[in-house]
Symmetry: C2
Subunit: 334 residues, 2 copies
């Protein structure tokens, strides 16, 4: 019998709670701590925050340092914020306690892109403490970056890569429906985009990871964020979208190489999307045309990828890694 | 400017020649030698064996030892035979010359399955000589093993995996059409299957690799090989298949776990297949339903995977590796 891998869950939002649930399913993992700052969650058994309210035996604490010190986890599943500067102090704390990190922080997919200095410091901290840091998830982390890279492996030549991810936001939770701007006036949508308050975080990082792993030197990475306007009224369990209002978002990342658009990541998340799917088109030799019917479900798949990445991260050499550095991801047996 | 990686091509059949072509496209690779025993190929410039007959400047030799000694390659692309015992002396020779190996030998995808002792010796030889050995390709190597594993990474639970690869053999080369039994009497087909002369080599290895990487302990791995009977007459550029004769093969591998069929790899290669495709179905949480329209083209994709794997193999720790041990495959830039 192998010793179970000790896991602390840092952040108990929807993804974090999905991680807790997945960790509890795995015989090789043991949840030893749970961290969140929300006073409504602190001091509860983490099981009380799950839908079926199992008794987990781990009490939520807002004191990250205390939990890390007392539980000495092998790895921390980190699901708090989207941007590297926001999470840097948390990651530093974890790493100094000599725990590996698997994080859903979107910018951590390829942190060198926007935060080269912080990325270098994280890499150094990780190496000094003999641990590995990985940013992953389903998007960013899989559908629009890792999977197209994997598909490119059967091509002798790749001229361009196009990925579509069309999500019907009406099947997703309220925060996501709000995140995509469902129900807004188009003007308000554009104002919020201008203020950086709407849009998929991680888009440029996905483009950058593909280019990096293919050794493509890009001129620029561009991103455009536009509203998808409702052509008819829609009602979700959470909100209504009248005709002419915003149904959701169209967020497109583009990688330009020698003046040509060689990477196109087209993400549309809106209420009422008719044919939800993920698709990868490689203009290459041979050409590739892949479709995932219905698309890979976001929240649970992100939790799955985080949890399933634990063995890869534990086996890796110390440092800040990307999905392109680690062995192929796969499900961790229950 | 980095030094180019020195490559020897060992075996100049259709896959080997496709490798030569791909190697010549890559600025980071340099073809330094070519080995084949066919007297019709020996002493020719390897370029003369390619369709567009470029001058490559590498003369084919049947003396593997001499070529390895003189050219001191970093890596050998090995595309000779299907079975581990057949290729063991070749692999031993390569490894003793301290070159890494990327091989299309089907059984080498997961050599432990049928040849645990030879696999152990290969692993030891590779470690002693500080090099890495990898068996890969498109099937086995990607569509029916590596790709379903990669897709399982977004699942918290995987109950079963089904892969389809339906190939229209009429679009493929003559040896493949013969390999699938096209044009035979059904009785003759069954006789040849009984003699082990028909069937896709590597099927059980694909099942075994999936199970190994998912940490599934299987009761048994089964394989059934049946003829696909032509319902109407077909004519290919190479041969004719009258109605009622064999159009091709249906080769199914099954992994049984706790009495249940949890892995099903359904390969059909026949003249006149109407909807050629690769597909992966995961009965899991979330479920996955992936289709590659037209399927991944065999020969060129296999050569691509071999060549694209070179950097992964050079970076790996010494030993006998599988696709599940190495970082995600991806195209090597031209």
């Amino acid at each position: 019998m192998l010793m179970a891998i000790k896991v602390v869950q840092f952040g108990l939002g929807p993804i974090g709670l999905a991680c807790v649930k997945a960790v509890c399913m795995k015989s090789s993992l043991e949840l030893v701590g749970a961290i969140d700052i929300d006073p409504k969650k602190v001091d509860k058994d983490v099981g009380e925050l799950l839908e079926d309210r199992p008794k987990v035996g781990v009490t939520v604490s807002s004191n990250a340092e205390k939990i890390l010190k007392e539980t000495r986890p092998d790895v921390v599943l980190h699901t708090t914020r989207s941007f590297v500067p926001q999470v840097f102090p948390q990651l530093e704390l974890i790493v100094k306690h000599k725990a590996h990190v698997v994080s859903s922080t979107e910018e951590l997919l390829f942190p060198r892109l926007k935060h080269p200095e912080l990325a270098q410091r994280l890499d150094q901290l990780a190496q000094e403490n003999g641990v590995t840091i990985l940013g992953t998830g389903v998007n960013p982390g899989f559908v629009m970056d890792t999977l197209p890279l994997v598909m490119s492996s059967v091509c002798t030549e790749v001229r361009s890569i196009r990925v579509e991810r069309f999500v019907d936001a009406s099947t997703r939770r309220l925060p996501l429906q709000k995140k995509v701007g469902a129900g807004l006036d188009p003007e308000e949508f554009r104002r919020l985009v201008g203020e950086g308050k709407l849009g998929h975080v991680g888009m440029k990082e996905s483009v950058a990871l593909i280019a990096h792993a293919l050794q493509w030197s890009l001129d620029t990475i561009e991103e455009t964020i536009e509203p998808v306007i409702a052509e008819e009224a829609h009602k979700t369990p959470y909100l209504e979208v009248p005709e002419g209002k915003v149904a959701g978002i169209k967020d497109v990342g583009r990688g330009i190489r020698n003046g040509e658009e060689v990477i196109t990541l087209d993400l549309r998340m809106y209420v009422g999307a008719k044919d939800p799917h993920d698709a990868i088109f490689i203009d290459g030799t041979p050409p590739i045309r892949l479709t995932i019917t219905g698309g890979v479900m976001g929240d649970i798949a992100t939790a799955a990828m985080l949890v399933n990445s634990i063995p890869r991260v534990l086996e890796a050499s110390p440092g800040l890694k990307t999905m392109a550095d680690l062995p192929i991801p796969r499900q961790l047996s229950n």
